[in-house]
């Protein structure tokens, strides 16, 4: 078996042994993942080298496909590709991989890189109509925001069937003669889905908040009474609340707007932390008030960012939420930080 062609960095050239997409034989794809594939997947989850994790676009073979085998269309994001192939054990089919610049199907469909023209061009590039007798393409359902099935039929003569949302349902879908249950057609947002997403959220939030810790450190250089490990823990806890706990507990927190949910948990946390550390005591009240304003605002902001990872928020809704929440977040973060610093310098 030929090694899987991958490409990395800005160099578009396949590293080795790779066949161009118009090669006579489509590269054969294994349905089992190697340790390297798994490690790569894990690194992507934690935001290490997340960009440019892609495979070469083109036509691939799974098993021993012939002119009657189904054609599955997907994106050239390596994780998508791996998820897809490991769910095809025992099947004979073609994989038509579009150039989505290493982005998963759903995102790429939103950007239209997983789109009508890319699909039509790719069909021509691999001369699919000469390889298969039928004129059917199975697309992932989440590719539908980018692809117009009526247009593919009109311009390329292929009829599009939208397969299930999840690759794990593909075999059942194919063996039932392309019948999808309502379940298969619906995007979920389970606890597991949300947990999988949180590492990246956390890493991103931590990167952003390094500047906050930098400011604390600088203030420490000049202050008579430095910020200590308690302040650090309270801030770190807030980031955890906004970037991890709010997403995980999402359906159980009252309210619908993400910012509100984050703010609510952030407020609980800030009240708890300030209470436990005894900062409600007279003389520390300004300081405490600062924290009670700033911390929930930070949690609200981080939670609001999670709208991008959620699977059910509409742009109109997010815009509405932001118009209300963003000014409140900015004001309370600035006022809160100022009070905390003043209270700290005075205390």
């Amino acid at each position: 078996m030929k090694p899987l062609p991958t490409r990395s960095g800005c160099c578009r050239a396949p590293n080795n042994n790779c066949c161009s997409s118009d090669a006579k034989d489509a590269p054969l794809v294994s349905t089992s993942l190697s340790f390297k594939d798994r490690l790569g997947g894990w690194k992507v989850r934690w935001g290490i080298g997340r960009v440019n994790y892609q495979v070469e676009p083109g036509l691939y073979a799974v098993g021993k496909p012939d002119g009657d085998s189904p054609v599955l269309v997907s994106a050239n994001y390596k994780l998508t590709f791996d998820t897809l192939r490991k769910n095809l054990v025992g099947l004979d089919c073609w994989l038509l991989i579009l150039d989505t610049k290493g982005v998963n199907v759903w995102c790429a469909a939103g950007k239209k890189t997983f789109g009508t023209s890319e699909l039509i061009n790719r069909l021509e590039a691999v001369k699919l109509s000469e390889r298969v007798r039928h004129r059917k393409l199975i697309l992932p359902q989440l590719g539908a925001p980018g692809v117009s099935a009526p247009e593919i039929a009109r311009r390329a003569g292929f009829s599009v069937i939208y397969g299930p949302v999840r690759a794990s349902d593909l075999k059942a879908f194919i063996s039932s003669g392309y019948q999808a249950t309502k379940e298969m057609r619906t995007v979920s947002f389970t606890l597991r889905d949300r947990l999988v997403l949180t590492p990246v959220e956390l890493v991103q939030a931590a990167k952003k908040s390094l500047s906050v810790f930098g400011v604390l450190f600088l203030l420490n250089l000049f202050a008579a009474k430095p910020f200590d490990v308690n302040d650090f823990a309270v801030c770190a806890g807030t980031i955890f609340i906004g970037a991890v706990l709010t997403p995980v507990l999402l359906p159980f927190i009252p309210g619908r707007a993400f910012a509100f949910k984050g703010w609510l948990l952030g407020l609980c946390w800030a009240t708890l932390a300030v209470g436990v550390l005894g900062w409600f005591a007279p003389g520390r009240r300004l300081f405490a008030a600062g924290y009670l304003l700033a911390l929930p605002a930070v949690a609200a902001y981080l939670a609001m960012n999670f709208t991008g990872s959620s699977t059910y928020t509409s742009p109109s809704g997010v815009l509405k939420e932001m118009k209300i929440a963003l000014p409140l977040i900015v004001i309370s973060a600035i006022v809160g930080s100022a009070l905390t610093i003043i209270g700290h310098l005075m205390g």
């Binding site: 995102c107 939103g110 539908a144 925001p145 991008g308 699977t311 928020t313 509409s314 997010v318």
Partner: protein, 96 residues
């Protein structure tokens, strides 16, 4: 558990007169917004719509209109700053 976002914000509009009853909208919608009855589509729950635009793009009769885009706060902020269309990093590892 089916999560519903804000009420009455989705820009989805459906013109029943134009509908051919092909069922494509119900096939592509990731949130079961459309259903088919008596060879006509109907909107089951508009508040479930995330404005992905799949139904509108795939309807052969142009019976559906929606302001499609990404429901992502940081993408919208980035769009404001750079003056470009918001685009997202929505990532569902399970999707194929």
């Amino acid at each position: 558990m089916k999560m519903i976002y804000l009420k009455n914000v989705a820009t989805l509009s459906f013109l029943a007169e134009k509908c051919l009853g092909c069922g494509r909208c119900a096939e592509v919608c990731p949130h079961g917004v459309f259903s088919l009855a008596d060879k006509k589509a109907w909107v089951v729950e508009k508040d479930l719509c995330m404005e992905c635009g799949a139904c509108s793009l795939n309807c052969p009769a142009k019976a559906i209109e929606v302001n499609a885009g990404v429901g992502c706060a940081s993408a919208i902020i980035k769009g404001w700053i750079t003056g470009s269309e918001p685009s997202c990093d929505r990532d569902s590892g399970e999707c194929c």
